[in-house]
């Protein structure tokens, strides 16, 4: 069994926005997810993380690039061929209630994806639905009820159950906790971690909730204006980011502990419009480390140790800044 489950290479998505202008939502994005691994895709609004996720499931068609899922080039497949693969790639959405049909009973909602698998009869579908209801700790009683009879946290469990019922290898989680209260959020995050370990699931966790990412994911890729600027193991990056944008982002996280002190790394100005981006580094207009070459060509992804890559000409100097935690 190959260790790599998903390999994304040079993924690009361009939206025409009228007047001959282009919105390059995703530019030459490359990453891999191994079997059983949780990778976080983080970034602020407009970074392209959601568009990237949608391209993976072909909810939108990428402009260029390759996506290999378990060795299969999914962009070369017809929609019909791809549908056969879809049960192995599932998705959990941000708004639990909006993503569940209010007029269907929970059992039917969860069985819905199984209807694409003709080899399963009604009895087997029900058996599988009850099985995943147990996995998400909801129990059999939920089967005959309607979504509105559940709290937001329980609704998100239903969404997770629906994603798991086809026994996927990869689950895409799009801001799965941002609509939830603190205590419910913690329960869902713990459930996701437990399921990952129990079932050997791989996750692509799309989020701007950085403490959630740190809690659940083994690896992280940080996006800024359509590009991955840094990728590597979660703890390494959270402790000592090497890209100026990662450093600014991660030093802004407010941990729930008044004693935690991070050395702030401050960018000035707002995120520029993603329409008609300049050819150089997208951070050039806000970066304290900027120098002339940053404005002329986008920096290449350079390797910094095992599994760590950074797209910055001055990453080596950034290393001299050390860790974020001050004592």
């Amino acid at each position: 069994m190959a260790a790599t489950l998903l390999q994304v290479s040079d993924l690009t998505k361009i939206f025409p926005v009228g007047g001959g202008h282009q919105l390059k939502a995703v530019s030459e994005v490359s990453f891999t997810i191994r079997r059983g691994e949780a990778l976080a895709l983080v970034g602020e609004s407009g970074s392209g993380k959601t568009t990237t996720g949608r391209c993976l499931l072909r909810l939108i068609e990428p402009t260029a690039g390759h996506i290999q899922f378990d060795g299969v080039d999914i962009l070369a497949q017809t929609q019909r061929q791809f549908r056969a693969l879809r049960p192995r790639m599932q998705m959990v959405f941000q708004e639990p209630y909006d993503s569940l049909s209010p007029r269907m009973r929970v059992g039917r909602i969860i069985e819905e994806p199984l209807r694409m698998l003709p080899e399963l009869d009604a009895a087997e579908r029900q058996r599988r639905a009850l099985e995943v209801l147990g996995m998400v700790r909801l129990g059999r009683a939920a089967y005959d009820r309607y979504p509105h009879q559940f709290s937001a946290g329980q609704q998100q469990r239903i969404g997770i159950a629906r994603a798991l019922v086809t026994r996927p290898d990869l689950v895409l989680l799009d801001e799965p906790t941002s609509a939830l209260d603190v205590s419910v959020r913690a329960e869902i995050l713990d459930l996701l971690s437990d399921l990952q370990a129990e079932l050997g699931l791989a996750y692509l966790f799309i989020s701007h909730d950085l403490t959630a990412v740190r809690r659940v994911c083994q690896r992280v890729a940080i996006m800024y204006l359509g590009r991955i600027v840094e990728t590597g193991e979660t703890e390494q990056i959270f402790e000592a980011p090497l890209h100026p944008y990662s450093r600014a982002l991660l030093s802004s996280v407010l941990y729930p502990d008044p004693a935690s002190r991070l050395s702030r790394y401050v960018l000035t100005g707002e995120i520029p419009s993603p329409i008609d981006l300049p050819q150089g580094c997208h951070l050039a207009s806000r970066c304290p480390m900027v120098e002339p070459r940053c404005r002329s060509a986008y920096p290449p992804m350079d390797r910094f140790g095992e599994g760590r890559s950074v797209a910055c000409y001055r990453a080596q100097e950034m290393r001299a800044l050390g860790g974020l935690t001050t004592h």
Partner: protein, 326 residues
């Protein structure tokens, strides 16, 4: 220092088919000038109703039944609508996760701030414009001379938050109520906004009331925290002491849930985190891992448990001792 805002036994309810239901129950709270107070609690705990009732902005079916809201010595509940309107957006300002809603969509932001300045002091048009540019620059709006002519819909959410802070500066706002300061904003932008609010408190003595689900905001930007559960304050403590060891079991659950890493399992009795508040005795009882028989008899009083700390729990002192021993 005398409090700038004093809430005394504020009670708010709403009408349902089955009769009135309490949203705030005899809530008492003080806020001093220059103080940053964090209000935390889950959805439905009454945080937003609290903020809106201070501003007299509750609409039916919500109804203020009882209590006083004293701001700078005046009971706001006795004010007529005309005087209240002068206060709102003036001495007391509010911002929410939709800051654009608090700006007039038909008037440029420059004009809005100029109007504020000229309503409160005799200032010539040109001087007011100059001052407006200074204010916009002070809140980090780039190219303020050009932005004067911008309308709210042309600005991002973060920029609108900044305009509201600039207006608070123009008004010399005494009390800024902030409902969910980080919701809907990106991390780096929300830090810039919080820094600005903090500066406002330090340099102008503005009192801040930050209503947030985000304990990280409270940990780093507040001096004091009040935890709400089911329309009541269940704990009120200095931030350092609170995070070192909360005195209410509900606070303890919130802190554990917010932790960046997952805590130990099975350390505590499993309880139903979704149970409805109890209607008799302590409302938190159905979710409480340390409840005893006495908790079923009456709602515990909000009592002093240590210097500057109050908690509404029969077991608060025992909890604190355990925490200290651990």
């Amino acid at each position: 220092m005398a409090p700038i805002l004093e809430l005394r036994e504020l009670s708010v309810s709403y009408e349902t088919q089955g009769g009135a239901r309490a949203v705030l129950s005899k809530l008492s709270l003080d806020v001093s000038a220059g103080e940053a107070l964090g209000i935390v609690g889950e959805s439905g705990s009454g945080k937003t109703v609290l903020v809106r009732s201070i501003l007299g902005l509750l609409d039916p079916p919500f109804r203020t039944d009882h209590g006083t809201v004293v701001f700078e010595g005046r009971d706001l509940r006795q004010l007529d609508e005309q005087s209240f309107r002068q206060l709102r957006g003036g001495s007391i300002a509010l911002t929410t996760p939709e800051p654009r809603k608090h700006l007039n969509p038909l008037i440029s932001i420059g004009r809005q701030i100029v109007n504020v300045l000229r309503a409160h002091q005799t200032l010539a048009e040109q001087a007011a414009r100059t001052r407006t540019i200074e204010l916009l620059r002070a809140v980090g709006i780039p190219d303020p001379e050009r932005r004067l002519a911008a309308y709210p819909h042309e600005l991002s959410g973060g920029m609108c938050q900044r305009v509201i802070i600039a207006m608070a500066l123009a008004h010399q706002t005494k009390l800024l109520l902030v409902d969910e300061p980080t919701a809907g904003l990106d991390v780096t932008i929300s830090r810039q906004i919080l820094d600005l609010m903090h500066e406002l408190a330090v340099s102008h003595g503005t009192a801040l009331m930050l209503v947030s689900r985000d304990l990280g905001v409270v940990a780093h930007y507040c001096r004091r925290v009040a935890v709400m559960y089911d329309g009541r304050i269940v704990e009120d403590a200095p931030v350092e002491a609170f995070f070192a060891g909360p005195a209410h079991p509900y606070s303890r659950q919130l802190l554990r849930a917010a932790a960046a890493s997952r805590g130990k399992r099975g350390a505590e009795k499993r309880v139903d985190a979704l149970a409805e508040p109890a209607r008799t005795g302590c409302p938190f009882r159905p979710r409480c891992p340390v409840a005893v028989a006495a908790c079923a008899t009456a709602v515990p009083a909000l009592q002093q448990v240590a210097a500057g700390r109050r908690a509404r729990c029969l077991r608060a002192e025992a909890l604190l001792r355990q925490e200290l021993a651990a």
